[in-house]
């Protein structure tokens, strides 16, 4: 490796042995054209013989090539401010890696508009980034997109929800099933024998929304695993305006007098809180995500528990993992589950995202 007795190493040593300049070595190292087959073979043989491992730090430093990492997440919508936190995480990572000549290209889609997602993926391919981070909200479209990434050898990582079977570099986000399971555990402590749960999936396109359903699965599994025979009234609400939600809740409560707790499987829980107020119903309310609307409702006593999974951290880690993989050739864990945090009025002030 070292300097002892004037030994060369790396690209210089290869050049010396092959009787060429380091420029030529660099050409074959990167399969660039303009080297005669003969010297190319000779150099390749030496590279193999020395088991040459490039110094990646030096490589990045010298290279003028900028590395592009694309991020694709929903815009902050009127329904929920959830996605502002991942965006901040992305920007924090960006600040850290830009000095290594890495650009983070940020793309956004409308969570209620499949076409916008597809359009953004097309845009991304125009740039041909070196890595992609995305929230695969539209499963089929995301699958098509990541398939194409695989074909082009572009590494990608999922955040927030996973698509299994895709060849992703990593998934960074909640263990959805487990978080539903945990919620059920909480519920089982709270409810008496004769009281029941209302489970609400609120999304304009439930049919696709795998990740909400995975939470529901986990939720139900807890009661089965523990032989608890708990009645679960489940409603999928496909319109996220307050009026629709209110109607659905009112109907359920009228039909099921024993409901004492509502479990909302995503961040729309503050909307539910508002509805309950309107309906003048005081129920226990459990939902997801540490966002402004929800925290307010939590503080006001209208939400009892929030389950959170550091969405800012997820995005930060995703970009950093991509950087470490692409630039430093680091190994990245296939699954990076975030801790499942339970937030109440008592501890919310200490929660840092």
């Amino acid at each position: 490796m070292a300097k002892k007795d004037g030994q060369l190493s790396g690209v210089k040593e290869i050049a010396r042995r092959a009787n060429v300049s380091i420029g030529t070595v660099d050409r074959v190292l990167h399969n660039r054209a303009g080297v005669s087959p003969k010297t190319r073979d000779k150099i390749k043989a030496i590279i193999k013989e020395l088991d040459y491992q490039p110094n990646l730090l030096a490589r990045r430093l010298a290279s003028k090539k900028v590395i592009h990492i694309a991020t694709l997440i929903p815009t902050v919508s009127k329904d929920t401010s959830f996605w502002s936190q991942p965006l901040q995480g992305i920007m924090r990572a960006e600040a850290e890696v830009q000095k290594y000549n890495i650009k983070v290209d940020k793309y956004f889609f409308d969570q209620d508009d499949k076409t916008s997602f597809v359009n953004q993926t097309k845009k991304i391919f125009r740039v041909k980034p070196d890595g992609v981070m995305l929230s695969p909200d539209f499963v089929d479209e995301a699958t098509a997109f990541t398939n194409k990434c695989s074909k082009l050898d572009i590494p990608f990582v999922f955040i927030d929800s996973d698509i299994e079977g895709q060849n992703s570099l990593s998934y960074i986000g909640p263990h959805l099933y487990d978080s539903g399971y945990l919620a059920a555990n909480l519920v089982s402590y709270i409810l008496r024998e004769n009281e029941s749960v209302l489970l609400l999936n609120i999304s304009q396109r439930m049919y696709k929304h795998h990740h909400l359903l995975r939470k529901e699965e986990g939720f139900r599994a807890y009661f089965i695993d523990n032989s608890l025979n708990k009645k679960i009234t489940k409603v999928d609400i496909k319109k996220s305006d307050r009026h629709s939600i209110e109607k659905e809740i009112a109907a359920s409560l009228t039909k099921n007098k024993d409901i004492r707790l509502i479990f909302v499987t995503n961040s729309r829980v503050s909307l539910v809180a508002q509805c309950l107020k309107k309906l003048k119903k005081k129920l226990i309310l459990i939902g997801y995500d540490f966002i402004e609307e929800n925290i307010k409702a939590l503080v006001d006593g209208d939400i009892d528990f929030l389950i959170c999974q550091k969405p800012g951290e997820q995005a930060y880690k995703a970009v950093m993992s991509l950087y470490q993989y692409i630039v430093l050739n680091a190994t990245v864990d296939r699954m990076q589950f975030m801790p499942i945090d339970i937030i109440t009025r008592e501890n919310y002030q200490f929660y840092k995202n």
Copy 2:
């Protein structure tokens, strides 16, 4: 940041603004002596103003300083070959990082000799490494050691078992409690109503062996959590020779005719398998670790299940985490739990460590 309109950046820009050479900038950056207070202050102000962030890649490349990472693990003992795998993991990491001027100093202690552990820690302090990885087998001594590391600002990571409350950079290893819990789950499927378990902690110094006890806790918790009233006969065996183990097992089996399964909380399970053969008893046997002796017994049908936690990976990750933290200033997860793998005759061939 960039080259546009001839702008400088980094250390050069600071030097230009302060009207000094980059050498002087470097001196104040690293608090080296030999700079007048006046210019030091001026440079510091500029650094702050520009919010200068050093290029760590360039820094490592230019520096002649070699970074020392010390590893402290048990020697491969006659009782078990377990520790040969972490050693291989260390060496794999070493091969990857040595080109960045990092040296991995390997220290070993005798698992049955507290003094040897303490002696090695003393040796380590003589070198004053930049980071330490250790298996904290002797809890009190390891605590004293890592306390001193904290004082000297030397980051350290635990593998294999954790000491909570120490200010470690990371713990990389099994979730001991959960792995015991999982074992109990397995057991609950296997045993009938009227059959019972023999739990064996085999170690020459049980009194300290926090990590075995944590597995036992998890194991017991499963039955409590699931309201299963299962009889557990527990024996701590403080001599690891086959004769002692055989005597203890024979005694337990005579006293408890309903024992049909033995759960060994560490890698000594193959010794138990030998004893059972000698005693001509055919019981179900569950234990830990993917090591040669155990695999042989597994293949021969003398062990039924092995619980494994990729010990090679643990050590590899530990060294790499230290490298990424020290050199690249990366954030490292405080807890890095390894997957809990269940190995049987059927799948052991596909298990890669």
